[in-house]
Subunit: 347 residues, 2 copies
């Protein structure tokens, strides 16, 4: 009898390639990648000693952790391959890319949209990057963009009405005046990263590298969804306790947060860590509508799991309708897009 895997808690992007799919709505994530391309290139050129690392083999194994669905992941994987090829200008190296994401990621769409002209062998690896995914010492370069800020679950303190961390009327720590809410998020991030780095320390070969990219301020628009939910509460369409117990499980690590978890693990040296301020078309043009549709592709499944289809649809439709108002707010509260870049080397 066929056995179904007990799903790890996970929050997949919208599947397929329809209007609100992630594959058609991942501009924010694309901007993060584009902003980091040159930095990633430099980090590889300065730190990767392939001849020493591979010794007699000609196989170079790369993974994109939390790849979701294309085209962003294809774009960055081809970039990594090209930089490594250019650095060693030989044609002997052969590349295999492992596209990793949760079991319920849409791998069918990912595989069917693989670029025909890719210069690597492609494979998919289902599973949570908070645990082991590969044999020991089998990966030479690991990459993760817009993924490690996803927590493995909502911190449990946030689910308890009696807790000091009960996040009344809000859906995230951004905007919360209650410091216990922030602490609960940080604690969960540290627990998750401990598992993440323990697994990667086993899997990455000595001398191998890892580049992590994380949005730092891009998701402050989350609270517009929160305020729409509270509108529904005020109209009597939704019970407030459902909003209070809902907390989007993303934490945006600072330089200090990342440094702390890397140093605790102690298997990687930090080659570069910095906040960058890439140009964002969406933020610069106060293009709230595209931004909100983009967040819809990211958040829809998460909302459906908690609120059901009807409330979720109402919330997203109403928030998209607020685009002009959000645009106006963006112009006044202009804040250059900001992201965290980390280049690590396995000791």
């Amino acid at each position: 009898k066929r056995q179904l895997v007990k799903m790890p808690t996970s929050f997949p992007m919208n599947s397929g390639d329809a209007v609100y799919s992630y594959s058609k709505n991942s501009q924010i994530q694309r901007e993060v990648l584009d902003g980091a391309k040159e930095m990633m290139k430099e980090a590889i050129i300065e730190n990767l000693d392939i001849k020493n690392m591979l010794s007699s083999s000609n196989k170079f194994y790369i993974t994109d952790l939390g790849c979701s669905i294309g085209p962003n992941t294809f774009n960055s994987m081809q970039h990594v391959v090209q930089v490594v090829k250019d650095k060693y200008h030989d044609n002997i190296l052969e590349f295999q890319v492992f596209f990793n994401d949760h079991f319920n990621n849409d791998f069918n769409t990912l595989f069917r949209s693989l670029p025909v002209d890719r210069s690597y062998y492609a494979s998919g690896v289902p599973g949570s990057f908070h645990g082991r995914l590969f044999p020991s010492r089998s990966i030479h370069f690991a990459h993760s963009s817009c993924a490690i800020h996803w927590l493995s679950k909502c911190p449990k303190e946030l689910l308890d009405e009696k807790s000091l961390a009960w996040n009344k009327g809000l859906i995230h720590y951004v905007g919360a005046s209650n410091v216990e809410v922030m602490n609960a998020y940080v604690a969960q991030f540290e627990k998750d990263m401990e598992m993440f780095f323990n697994a990667r320390a086993e899997e990455i070969v000595p001398g191998g590298m890892m580049v992590l990219l994380s949005p730092f301020s891009g998701y402050r628009y989350l609270n517009f969804f929160g305020s729409t939910l509270m509108d529904l509460v005020n109209e009597g369409m939704l019970d407030e306790s459902l909003v209070n117990s809902f907390n989007v499980p993303v934490y945006f690590p600072s330089i200090e947060d990342m440094t702390k978890v890397v140093e605790k693990n102690n298997s990687f040296s930090i080659e570069k860590i910095e906040l960058t301020y890439p140009k964002s078309k969406l933020v610069d043009e106060a293009d709230a509508k595209t931004l909100i549709i983009n967040l819809t592709a990211v958040l829809q499944q998460l909302f459906i799991n908690h609120f059901g289809n009807k409330i979720t649809e109402e919330t997203f439709t109403r928030t998209i309708l607020k685009s002009e108002e959000i645009s106006a707010w963006m112009k006044i509260n202009y804040e250059k897009a900001c992201q965290l870049f980390v280049a690590l080397k396995r000791k």
Copy 2:
């Protein structure tokens, strides 16, 4: 803009896990595997020199070529891992299994049904095994069951009304009196296997092994679908030329066929090749209904591509209704199930 891969010609098993899905209807293929388990175990024990092959590494890479959807592929991959572990009774070896099938295989269902208690790291590799799938010398054990008898396409001579190989009134070479039909199938098989062995010769490490299993007589029930199609022609529901130009692209290689293609490639030694006669519950009990439903899961997409949904549904429904008649025929024409087993070693 997202680019869609131009699909290689391929004929996926029914996806998902509904009534006529391959995952719920793959008993024939299960019998093939079960019948070969002991032989595969012996072949590994007698021929695989892991310590020499892996030298200082502890990673053992396995692939199942044309894996389709579980549970059969999980069953055989766990078997391979267990046999290798038992032979070397150490716990140092780590296994990674690459589940390979065409781009349009249902990898989502495959991944979601992965056994929780598997003792290997799992990944999926989309693409045709008639071409390259992996870096050079990166696979230690390749396995393929009920897959290499699928041709990459219908031989083109069979599509030409003017050709001597025009297969009038039939949908396969089994039962055809026209020898040109058989020749066209053999020629296509040889072309496909040339590509198959060229790719595997690059990918499998020296000393690595490959075990191929192919049904030999199991699909002679194909022609019951053909006769249903001719019923529809006779009732004026279907144009005969559509039936004449339809030929199921499967060829069942004999010992001589396989020996010829392996020797032509010249990279593998044949450690064992034989026809086996495993017990078949379906054939022994003349269980035509299960058999026909099993073939439906395998053939439905192929029929839909050629005949469309309506004719395909009519054909399958009517053929299932003939189960009693087919059962009676099976009892009279009893033929023990028969399959081809090949164990090869990379020179």
